[in-house]
Amino acid sequence: MLSRIGESLFWIGRYLERADDTARLLDVQMQMLVEDPATDEVTSCQQLFAVMGIDDFGGVPNRWSMLDLLAYDQKSPTSIAAVIGSMREAARSARETLSTDVWSAINTTWQGVPAATSMRPVEMFNWVRRRTAMISGSADDSMPRDQGWYFYVLGRNIERADMTARLLSTAASAGGSGSGVAWQNTLRACGGYESFLRTYRGIERDSAAAEYLLLDRWFPRSLVSSLTEAERALTRLDVAGRRAGFSDEALRLLGRARTEIEYRPLNELLETMPFEMERLQRACAAASDAITARYFAQEDWHMWTGRVSL
């Protein structure tokens, strides 16, 4: 497979997941602002901006600027509208390798952006989630499981781990009386609230919710699941196979990040949640760089602007 095409597929995966997860994240945030009058709008939006890596914002952080920066404004690179545009660009340059189903799902989504940006926030988030589900469903159904597929899966899962880490940071930083609501909303946003209730027999504790989102091996949006999927995709891509250790830098980075979470006592994790989550995001970014260096090499025009800088 052409390196350029591999890279496009990897980024289609990332953009797709980012659009979906940003919509989920904003949904949680909006609900928190609406449902909990004790929430300080400016502080909580500021926290969200920090989590999303927006640190040079000049205006007042409130729900309106948040919606602009992260959802509506095509000029803001972190917005859903811009991410969908980038996804479509990536798809266009890999047009001949995508199935027509996937391409037209992506293209139609992009064409719907102008209409979507005039919807009410909740409607728009729903629309984004429906459209991304449609794209990932078409991909699931029609993409052959060749290298390209694994690049796509890899992109999705790295992005998913990264975004779940951001969601967890947001929930953990809610603190105080609002924390119960925050965890519940986060679970809802991930589509895992019901399954969480079934798993924990209706016991809602913050620590249980965190455990579910961090460590559950069966829940596909948990950090451990996403990282495991990403590692599996990397293993499939490494055609040479391996006998000892990990020659692939990305695999080493992701594996280490996963075990850091998996083998650490939950309490310890919860105490230093924002720090741990930031470390995880850095690992995802480094892994993405390592994949680029190994498989795509010649490119540098895809760049996140929302990356955690430390």
Binding site: M1, L2, S3, R4, I5, G6, E89, R92, S93, R95, E96, T100, W103, S104, N107, T108, Q111, Q147, F151, L237, V239, Y295, F296, A297, Q298
Partner: protein, 512 residues
């Protein structure tokens, strides 16, 4: 509303109309005429909109000034009967063969110059003449793997050649998608005709490209080279790569090592043997041509010289479709093939010739002047509709550089029924049949791209000047088998409104 309203005000038509002759409706169009007559006008419009929205959804677009636009597809098909097509097919084949012989000669022995068929100066002064490829012998002798010979029908309905395209003719993707869209948008009309299929094009092209592989390569790797997503024909590049099942590469995906061309893959470098390039000569190789080209691949020409890679179409083909050389093509056909031209040229004056220039300058206001190396309607001045200032400016240009201009009389292009604002009206069309040369034979795609000028009276039919296209149906003879129906392209999605109002679909007739 009734049939009368859609066709009301259609005629009489000045010039040759393909639907109405002097004695009324031609047999060829009775079924189409009746079908549109039976359909309520709102339904016709609705289906036309369905076609447009399905194109937009699929991203079937071309780029104009950085903006993606759908290429409007008219809902009324253009029909050509088998007999007329025989002439087109034979004429196109003949022309391609003569141009191949000319290119081999012009970049090789140069016998035609010695025999005085074409002055050497005419060829070597062309801006498309590239000395760098002189002496490169293509692996299977083919230089014009794909050509598009632009035809028009004159006042008598005779096909004439307007220009040759031997470099990178585009538009074939619309032929394929138009057919697909029409079969789902107008199924009942479609089923009433026995239409020669067009979907074979990709297979034909791929086998011609494979046949052109360098000597000794038994299983060649073919790629399509595109300038990238911002090119106006990017959609076509993706469609061709997809339907041939080959990689679509950009210049940056390729690299030359020791006279061989490789592509960068996720598993390292992989060899490439045949490049169907959709990039102009000047941008192909910064070492041989424009040093500032970021689209090309440094070292490509060397690799082709070394015989390790085939570039299709060959570099330097531009001398064959230069508009000045066009005036010599009938002579070339007689010289190389010892045949009379089957398709006539449009009468043309060469401004480089002193006597002819005199006449042209006297009659500037009634002629069409064309720059010899222009394409896409660029720089064309139509005398009767030009202002005095424009004519004076033109006169100065012609006197300054006579070699750069040819003149032709204003030809009344034939008209075909087309859906416009007021109903179905006659609009001017041309036709670009596509021919694929695999070295053994020249295969002509039955149909080709019909471009229609949507504004009334407009004579330049070009996508960059508000043109649309039509599905072109070449009818099969009653006894002729239609071996491959057009079903190996992916289906075009239909809008729901369209399928709700659609009449029950009769099974396509496929009697053999």
């Amino acid at each position: 509303m009734t049939q009368a309203q859609l066709f009301e005000g259609y005629g009489p038509v000045k010039g040759y109309d393909e639907m109405y002759g002097e004695s009324g409706l031609r047999d060829l169009y009775t079924s189409v005429h009746a079908a549109f007559g039976q359909m309520p006008p709102e339904e016709v419009r609705q289906r036309a909109e369905g076609l447009a929205s399905s194109y937009l959804e699929q991203g079937i677009t071309f780029g104009v000034a950085g903006e993606e636009r759908p290429f409007p597809l008219d809902i009324v098909p253009r029909i050509i009967e088998a007999d007329a097509w025989d002439e087109v097919e034979a004429g196109v084949k003949q022309r391609v063969k003569a141009l191949e012989a000319f290119l081999a000669d012009a970049y090789g022995a140069g016998e035609l110059f010695r025999d005085g068929v074409v002055p050497r100066a005419t060829v070597v002064t062309s801006s498309h003449y590239h000395r760098v490829v002189a002496g490169i012998d293509p692996a299977n002798g083919v230089r014009i793997h794909v050509s598009g010979i632009d035809l028009i029908r004159d006042g008598d309905g005779d096909f004439r050649v307007l220009e040759d395209n031997a470099r990178v003719p585009s538009g074939v993707s619309y032929v394929m998608t138009n057919r697909r869209a029409m079969s789902s948008g107008l199924p009942e009309v479609f089923a009433h005709h026995r239409i020669r299929p067009v979907a074979r094009y990709s297979r034909q092209l791929l086998s011609a490209l494979r046949a052109a592989a360098p000597a000794g390569v038994s299983d060649p790797t073919v790629v399509v080279l595109t300038p990238g997503v911002y090119n106006s024909a990017y959609f076509e590049h993706t469609l061709l790569a997809r339907t041939m099942g080959v990689e679509l590469v950009e210049g940056r995906d390729l690299v030359c090592h020791g006279g061989r061309v490789m592509m960068r893959t996720t598993d390292g470098l992989a060899p490439v043997h045949v490049i169907y390039r959709r990039i102009d000569d000047e941008f192909l190789d910064p070492l041989a041509f424009r040093a500032d080209s970021a689209l090309g691949v440094p070292g490509l020409v060397n690799a082709a010289r070394a015989g390790n890679v085939t570039i299709a179409n060959a570099i330097g083909n531009g001398v064959a479709d230069d508009k000045l050389l066009y005036t010599y093509v009938p002579d070339l056909i007689r010289y190389y093939l010892r045949e009379e031209p089957i398709l006539r040229n449009v009468d043309t004056w060469r401004c480089g010739d002193a006597d002819q220039r005199e006449e042209v300058l006297d009659r500037l206001h009634e002629l069409v002047l064309k720059p010899v190396d222009g394409s896409g309607g660029k720089g064309i001045v139509i005398g009767p509709s030009a202002t005095r200032e424009e004519l004076d400016e033109l006169r100065a240009k012609v006197i300054a550089a006579p070699r750069d201009w040819i003149a032709q009389p204003v030809i009344s292009l034939s008209t075909v029924p087309t859906l416009v604002e007021d109903g179905i009206r006659p609009r001017h069309v041309d036709l670009r049949p596509f021919a694929v040369n695999d070295g053994d034979d020249v295969w002509v795609l039955p149909g080709g791209l019909t471009r229609v000028a949507l504004p009334e009276g407009e004579l330049i039919v070009n996508s960059s000047r508000g043109g649309g296209s039509k599905d072109t149906w070449v009818l099969a003879r009653p006894t002729e088998p239609i071996e491959e129906p057009d079903d190996d392209l992916e289906p075009l999605s239909q809008s729901s409104s369209q399928s709700q109002t659609m009449a029950p679909v009769p099974a396509p007739s496929r009697e053999v």
